[in-house]
């Protein structure tokens, strides 16, 4: 499914790392507006580092990150959040000692207009009716899959331009995984642009419109989800054999 959409996010020549070494060595790719883009690659390829650079938790040494034409690199995590980029990190990130409703409210922490927050809460509950059922429960009492859905709901409270999902399938059983990926599809169908990093490359690429393969901190291949999935070399390397055309 080739994309004609305008890119929501553009990464250009990103070099970034921790301490002395570079983890990302000139990473460039685009995330088209309104689509799901999935970044895959072996452990240590730099997938999570890409997420940290975009969300402002790590400053790149070189290169630029642009959201809808506006430069993001150099801004703080808070400024990037205000610009409309929200991240759901790999580890569960709900405030476990607070209720789900309180967590959702904190998702809109940067929004001052309380009426707007109430409206958004209603909208998010409409999209995730299960989350509404858990509203009064402590977030720590939810299962891993339930926490993921509540985290998605919290991310939507900002009505973001771009949602970064860092390995949402981590630690989930196949059945729960399906409901989480269905939720990703639902958010996308509702208009959200999503950048997904997935260790479960096959499932991630099947879900995504576009795929990016990272290897040793560089982009090895970028294309539609299916192109990446069916690429013989990539299939052998990362997906346990090329995918059969379904």
């Amino acid at each position: 499914m080739p994309s004609d959409s305008e890119p929501a996010l553009v990464l250009d020549g990103i070099v970034a790392g921790y301490g002395g070494g570079d983890v990302l060595r000139g990473v460039s790719f685009e995330v088209p507006q309104g689509e799901i883009t999935c970044v895959v690659g072996p452990n240590g390829a730099g997938k999570s580092t890409v997420m940290k650079v975009i969300s402002g938790l790590l400053r790149p040494r070189q290169g630029s990150v642009t959201l809808a034409g506006k430069k993001l690199n150099g801004r703080s995590a808070r400024q990037i959040l205000k610009a409309g980029v929200v991240q759901v990190p790999q580890q569960h990130s709900l405030f476990k000692d607070m209720t789900v409703a309180e967590n959702l409210d904190l998702g809109a922490y940067t929004v001052r207009d309380r009426a707007a927050v109430r409206q958004r809460t209603d909208r998010v509950y409409e999209m995730f009716p299960q989350v509404k059922e858990w509203a009064g429960q402590k977030a720590g009492a939810l299962s891993g899959g339930q926490q993921r859905l509540a985290e998605f709901a919290r991310a939507l409270m900002l009505e973001p331009e771009l949602i970064l999902l860092d390995e949402p399938s981590m630690g989930l059983s196949p059945i729960v995984l399906k409901s989480v990926f269905d939720a990703v599809k639902r958010m996308n169908a509702d208009g959200a642009t999503i950048l997904l990093v997935e260790q479960n490359a096959r499932a991630g690429l099947k879900l995504a419109h576009r795929g990016v393969v990272l290897e040793n901190g560089t982009v090895r291949l970028a294309g539609t989800g299916r192109e990446v999935l069916e690429h013989p070399e990539i299939g052998e390397l990362y997906l346990g054999g090329a995918a059969k055309t379904a």
């Binding site: 969300s55 938790l57 995590a77 808070r78 959040l81 205000k82 929200v86 991240q87 990190p89 990130s93 709900l94 405030f95 476990k96 000692d97 607070m98 309180e102 409210d105 904190l106 998702g107 922490y109 940067t110 720590g140 919290r154």
Partner: protein
Amino acid sequence: MASQIYQAVVDGILVGGVYALMAVGLTLIFGVLDIINIAQGVLVILGAYLSYSLSTRAHIDLFTGLLITIPVMFIIGVVIHWAFIRRLRGSERTSMTLLVTYAAALIIEGVLYMLYGADNVQLKASYTTSSVHLLGFYLPWIYVYGFILAVVLVLAVYLLLYRSRFGRTIRATMQDETAARLVGIDVNRVSALTFGIGVAVTAVGGMMYGATNAFNANSGYDLISRLLAIIILGGLGSIGGALAASVFMITLESVVTIWEPTWAIAVFYAALVLVLVIRPQGFFGRKEVRAQ
């Protein structure tokens, strides 16, 4: 003997209130920010000296003076956070805070020696020496006021933490700092303000301590070990726990003093060890509240 024990229990409860006033700030800073503020004892003494200066030089009543000393101590707290704590990062942060707050304590102690000398002083007002006879007990007015103040303050800090939007950001930061950043909370600002609030409440503890004890710049060190024991017993970060543990420990000490004053301190710490063996998280601590 029975009446002696009753009086000791009543005294313990009232003096426990004074300790609660000093411990609330420490548990807030330790429980929320993972900062071991060794300077808290000296800050109590600084609060006492501020009240002393206002009382002796400007003749401002001790309780009215709190309207000045609380904001001043808040600013001092924010400055200490800015100067000593803000830059600390990484896994060694908590142990580093022990060292830097010790440095802050030495500086404050030095300044207090310079300004006030080494002689002991005590805060005085009409109610610091008078008592009320109630239900067969002699209750010093200052302790009665102190206990009421402790309950009000504990309630105020509780409401701030659990019923306000700012309190929610404090609790979010306490539970998961990275997640707090990801929802847009300015973690540095929240830390600085929380530290400031933790130090501001010592203004109240300091005034009460100074009105019930003679003190000099060196008195903070006796206090800090007791205060640490109290907040560990109450459960780190638990505001109500600080009040309960203060009352429990000081009452116990007060009762033991009837028989053998020299054993009172040993019993104080023995009680701490015993309770922690049975309940390692303290009275009101929760095992997994804090993000590690």
